[in-house]
Each structure stands twice: as C-alpha cells, then as structure tokens.
C-alpha cells in the first residue's frame, strides 16, 4: 500500500530524549569512578572488602556499565526484537530512579553507612531495574519475533533484577541479620550474578547481533548462540546452587568451565563474523569492541588462578581484587568505549539530520566525534589499565596512583568526545535548506 512514506512494517526508533541521558550519566560516572579510584588507590593493596572499593565497584557496575547498557538497550531492543519499545515513560522512570539511587548507594558504601543512604539507594536502583524489566517484558510480548538475541536480553535483565534484590538483601543483612551467614560471605554470589548473568549474558546477546551488523558480515549461526546461552545460564545456575547448597569448593570449577567454553564459542562466532565480513575495512571502534571480546578471557584466566588458590585454601585477596578490576575497568570498559562511538553518533545524527538527509551534504556520523582523541583515549586507558594491574599485584601505591591518573585522563577524553557528539549542531555550510 503506497503512502507518502509507508513505513508501517518498519520498526520505530526509540526517541533520543530517552537514550541520551543514560549515555551522559554513564560518562560522568566513569570520570567520578576514576577520580575515586585515584583517591582510594592505596585501598587496592588491602582486602577487597573495603568501603572505598565497594564504592568504586558500584559506581563502575551501576553508574558506568549498567547505565550505558540500559540506555543503549532502550535503543537496541527494537532492533533485537523487531518491535518498538513498549513505553518511553517507563524508560524515563528507569533513568530518574537509577540516577537518584546510584549516588546514594555509592555514598553509603564510601562512608560505610549501611543505614538510610545504602538502603534508599538500593531501593531506588531496584525500582529502576523493575521499570526496565517490565518495559522489556511488555515490548517482547508484543513482538512476534522470538529470536535468540531477545532471550539473551530478557534473561540478562532477570539476572540483573536478582542481583539487585540480593544486593539490597545484603545491605539489610548488615543491620538485621536475617541471612544464615554474614553479608561478606555472599559477595561472590552477588558479584557473579551481576557480572555473568547481567553483563556477560547481555554483552554476548547484543554483541552477537551488533558485531556482524557493523562488520556487514554474512555469518549467521543461531544454533551456536543457543549453546552459548545455555552454557552461560547453566554455568551460573549451577554456581548459585553449588555455592548455596553444596559444601566445599571443588565443584565450583564446573561453572567456570561452562562459562569458559561459552566464551570460546562466542569468540569463535565473532571470528567467523569477522572472516565473512563484506566490508574489509574495520574502524577503530570495532577494533576496540573486538579487543574487548579477547579481554573477556582475562577475568576467566584470573578466575581459574583464584580457583587454584581456593582449592589450596589460601585465599589470595589481591588476586580477587585484580579479578574484579579486570572485569570492570578492563572488559566492560573496553566494550563500552568501542560501542559508545558506534551507537551514540548515529543516535545524535538521526536526531539532527533525519529530516535534512537528501537536501544537501551532511556529515558522516563518524565525523561527529574526534577519532584521534578516541585513539589517544584507548592508548592512555590501556597504559593505565596495565600499570594498575602491575601496581595492585605488587602492592605499589605510587604505581597505582600514576595508573589512576592515566585512567582519569582517559575518562576525561571519553567525556570530551561524548559531550562533543551530544552538543553537535549542523554547520552553516551543511545542508541547503529548502
């Protein structure tokens, strides 16, 4: 049926007004996280259960990782499920609630006040996640397409919900002991449902859609992705059961192997997508994203090392710290660095130029940010990241401080580029307006 523009079968994009605040909040959280890291670098030479480390982990996990993923997924969910987002109001509510809750929670950890700041922070975050899960579920239930990527996204959101509920329970358990053991005992459970269930599952699910799409690859292998899905979820479920109900640690290697195998298969999927790509040139942002796929292996190698210590009953706290640092400052940060500048310029370009395209020359979305700044940021970040691991391994406070300064510089450059994209306005010599 012809119309002025009959796009009835085309999926409508989520408005940029919903998505962009998440990106800006995440960028500022990264900067705040690296600054707190600088002032708390010495705490990385102690035990991982330290108020400042808990604050850094939560600002990185929630303010940085989760906020940008929530923003991006509001934009990408229609792409994945081939249906428009159910509610923009719920998306706004999710942002506002999380934006209030995260600083409260981080402050609560930093000063180790498990009273009102941590509790109210946790409650707001829980409500934000509930809004997100409801929005996702309603969007999916409208969709006729039940592809593997949609299952990844929905399941990961349920793991996020479980992580947040459990996290809030741990906060309460500090004041009213209602769990059988102390909160610190359950930290591995809380951390891994978040890292594996939320971050890893979502990144593999979304990455398996976006990496071939951005590479313009012919590769498709839904069966392989179902195996990855089953291995990650099976591994994590078995971890939860083993942790809670089976005494002893020797069985914990089973989930580690399951997740490691899932990562190998996902790496193979990315490699095949890369091999069968139509566009031969790969831009810096895709290279960074592909690098982050390789970086997924680093926490696993560390986990196996930590598991080795566990069997020997010689818990090495510093190794646990480095393991956490690699996850949040390594793998998650690398994938976000790459994907920010693959998605954000297009969202802004679509907003600024969607009604001007075809009327004259418009810039390429890649021209909305400074690529040299991006490359510089990645190099400085890698230097800071490696230096920090060395500093934490050998408990060298001075090295940790230098590394933290490099990470602050990288975060500043990231913010600079994000703000440059967000504040983009059409130039006078662009577009011959009618």
């Amino acid at each position: 049926m012809f119309a002025a523009v009959n796009t009835g079968t085309m999926v409508k994009n989520t408005t940029h007004k919903v998505v962009l605040p998440f990106y800006l909040y995440a960028a500022l959280s990264l900067l705040a996280g690296t600054i707190i890291l600088f002032f708390s670098a010495r705490s990385f030479t102690y035990h991982y259960f330290h108020p400042h480390i808990l604050a850094i982990i939560h600002i990185m996990a929630l303010g940085w990782g989760t906020m940008i993923i929530l923003g991006a997924s509001h934009q990408l969910v229609p792409v994945l499920i081939e249906k428009s987002l159910y509610s923009t109001r719920l998306a706004y509510a999710s942002f506002i609630l999380a934006a209030i809750g995260i600083p409260l929670l981080v402050y609560g950890f930093y000063v180790f006040n498990m009273g009102w700041p941590a509790k109210w922070g946790g409650r707001f975050v829980l409500l934000a996640v509930l809004c997100y899960v409801i929005n996702l579920y309603k969007s999916l239930s409208k969709s006729k397409t039940k592809n593997v990527h949609a299952f990844f996204v929905l399941t990961s959101s349920l793991w996020l919900l479980l992580t947040v509920v459990f996290g809030l329970a741990l906060v309460y358990n500090f004041n009213i002991s209602f769990l059988p053991k102390e909160s610190i005992t359950y930290l591995p459970l809380h951390a891994h449902t978040g890292v594996i269930g939320w971050f890893l599952l979502l990144v593999t699910g979304v990455g398996s859609r976006l990496i071939p799409m951005f590479l313009i690859s012919k590769y498709k292998n839904e069966k392989l992705l179902w195996v990855v899905y089953a291995l990650i979820n099976g591994g994590l479920l078995s971890f939860v059961i083993l942790f809670l109900f089976i005494p002893g640690r020797s069985f914990l290697l089973i989930p580690v192997i399951a997740v490691l195998f899932a990562l190998v298969l996902f790496g193979y999927y990315c490699y095949e997508s890369f091999k069968l790509r139509i566009r031969k040139q790969v831009d810096e942002q895709m290279k960074t994203s592909l690098l982050s796929v390789l970086m997924m292996a680093m926490p696993l190698i560390f986990l196996i090392s930590v598991a080795g210590w566990l069997f020997a009953d010689k818990m090495n706290e510093r190794m646990v710290l480095i393991y956490g640092f690699i996850i949040f400052f390594g793998w998650i940060t690398a994938i976000i660095f790459g994907m920010t500048f693959k998605t954000l310029p297009f969202i802004v370009w679509n907003n600024v130029y969607h009604d001007k395209a075809g009327l004259g020359k418009t810039p390429n979305p890649k021209e909305l940010f400074n690529n040299n700044l991006f490359v510089g940021m990645v190099l400085i970040y890698l230097a800071g990241f490696i230096l920090f691991i060395i500093g934490a391994s050998f408990a060298q406070a001075a090295m940790l401080n230098i590394a933290a300064v490099l990470l602050i510089i990288a975060a500043t450059l990231y913010n600079w580029n994000v703000i440059k994209v967000l504040s983009h306005k059409p130039q006078k010599n662009e577009c011959n307006y009618q």
């Binding site: 079968t9 994945l80 009604d355």
Partner: protein, 107 residues
C-alpha cells in the same frame, strides 16, 4: 542494478539523483546497495511510486533513508508527489549490492 520501471528515461534520472542518498553506516548509496526495487511514474496524476527495502526491517537509519529518498525525488521532479512503500518480501540480501558497491566495500 535491477530496478523495475514503466519509464526508462525518468528512471535513469531518478537513479542518478538517488545516488546522493547514502546509508551513513555503510557509506554506500541506496542504488549501489540495491535498496530500490521498483520506480513507476504516473504522468496523469503526477505521482511517483517507489517500492523499496532496507538492509534489515529494524534498520536504525530507516526513517532517515526513506525521508531522504522522498526529498531527493521531489526536488528532482518538481511538482510530482512521491509515494513510497517499504517492503521486506523479498528481503534485501548481499547479492543486491552492485559491483561498484562491492569494490567500495572491498577497499
């Protein structure tokens, strides 16, 4: 490029104009991408019918591309109304990319 039309001359002019509409992510114009299936011209009603597709039904740049095609054709054929229909059957495939387009992507 396989574009069905009822007017070869006008179609050639339209396709030349549409070479200015570029998919911003891929960097290829809509003609080399093979997004246009059919272009029909109705002299009496002064209407242009465009049947086209997108690389995927959920292409994030879809609205920009369809809007740009409409604007370019309306600027090329002044006074004519452009009516556009998006179809996904048959779906777009890599085989629809022109030789020039494939050369560009292979660079």
């Amino acid at each position: 490029m396989n574009v069905i039309t009822n007017n070869n001359i006008k179609c050639t002019i339209a396709l030349a104009a549409l070479e200015n509409v570029v998919d911003p992510e891929i960097g290829l114009n809509v003609i080399d991408l093979g997004l246009i299936y059919q272009l029909d011209f109705d002299f009496a009603k002064k209407k242009i019918y465009v049947t086209m597709t997108l690389t995927t039904q959920f292409c994030p740049m879809g609205e920009s591309i369809t809007g740009a095609i409409k604007r370019v054709l309306e600027n090329t054929f002044i006074g004519e109304v452009v009516l556009l229909e998006l179809v996904f059957d048959p779906p777009w495939s890599f085989e629809r990319i022109s030789e020039e387009g494939q050369e560009y992507l292979n660079r």
